[in-house]
Amino acid sequence: MFPPMLLYVRVTAPDRNRSGVWLPLFLVWLILLPIVVLILLLTTLVDLVLFLAGQRYHHYTLLLLRCFGVLGATRGTVIHIHSNENDVDIDLV
C-alpha cells in the first residue's frame, strides 16, 4: 500500500472566496526514501543482534514496516471543518 501522494487543503471564506493548495507528498517520500532504507538496514542489524543475543523481542524492522503500513492506510482520509468564519477541507489522496 502506497502512502498518500498528495495533500489537498482547501479554505473557503464566508464571501465564498476559495483557496486551495495541493501539496505533493510524493516528493517528501522520495526525499525520505534513502533515510528510510538506511534505518531499515540498521533495524535489521539490531534485530539480528538481539536474536543472536537470545532476546525475546527482535521485531524492530517489522515494527517500522508496520508504521509505514499505517502511513499508507491514511490515504483516503478526509477532514472537513466548518465554522462561522470559514470552511476547511483536508484530503489525503
Partner: protein, 148 residues
C-alpha cells in the same frame, strides 16, 4: 419476487446475514435494478456468493461533530487505518507496551493491547460495521460515530 431478493431473504432466514446486512443488500439490489431498467439486460444481478460484497461494504469510519454554535467537524478515516493501527500494537516492544497500558489504565481505559491477536483485530473491525455512537449534548451539540 426476484431470484436475488429471495436469495437474500433465504440467507437472512438461515442466519448467514443479519437484518442490517440484508437491508443493505436489498438497497443495493434496488439501486442496481433501477440502473438495469435504464439499460436493460438479462440474468441475475448478484452472481455467486454475496458475502464478499457484504464484507466490502464499510470502508470508512465517520466521526461527525456538530457544535452548539453551528460549527461542524466531519472526519472520514479509512477502516484500513484502524486495522493497521491495531496490528501495529502487537509489535510494540514490551517495555513500551507496559507504559502504554499503565497510562491507559490511569485514564480509565483498562485495555491490554498486548493481548490483541490478529484474529481479534479482524473480529473487532467486523464488529465496527455494526457500531453507531450518537451523543446529544445539553446545549445542542452532537457527536456521531459510525462506519460506512
Amino acid at each position: 419476487m426476484s431470484e436475488d431478493r429471495s436469495r437474500i431473504l433465504r440467507m437472512l432466514a438461515d442466519g448467514k446475514i443479519n437484518a442490517d446486512e440484508a437491508e443493505r443488500l436489498l438497497d443495493a439490489l434496488e439501486s442496481r435494478t433501477s440502473e438495469k431498467c435504464a439499460a436493460p439486460g438479462s440474468g441475475s444481478l448478484i452472481k455467486g456468493d454475496p458475502t464478499p460484497l457484504l464484507n466490502a461494504l464499510p470502508k470508512y469510519l465517520h466521526v461527525k461533530v456538530d457544535g452548539e454554535e453551528g460549527e461542524k467537524v466531519d472526519v472520514k478515516i479509512p477502516l484500513a487505518l484502524v486495522r493497521s493501527g491495531l496490528k501495529l500494537t502487537s509489535l510494540i516492544p514490551p517495555q513500551a507496551m507496559d507504559q502504554i497500558n499503565q497510562q491507559m489504565s490511569e485514564k480509565g481505559m483498562s485495555i491490554d493491547f498486548s493481548n490483541f491477536k490478529p484474529e481479534d483485530i479482524d473480529e473487532l473491525i467486523d464488529a465496527l460495521r455494526e457500531m453507531e455512537v450518537n451523543v446529544d449534548g445539553a446545549k445542542g451539540e452532537k457527536v456521531r460515530v459510525y462506519c460506512e
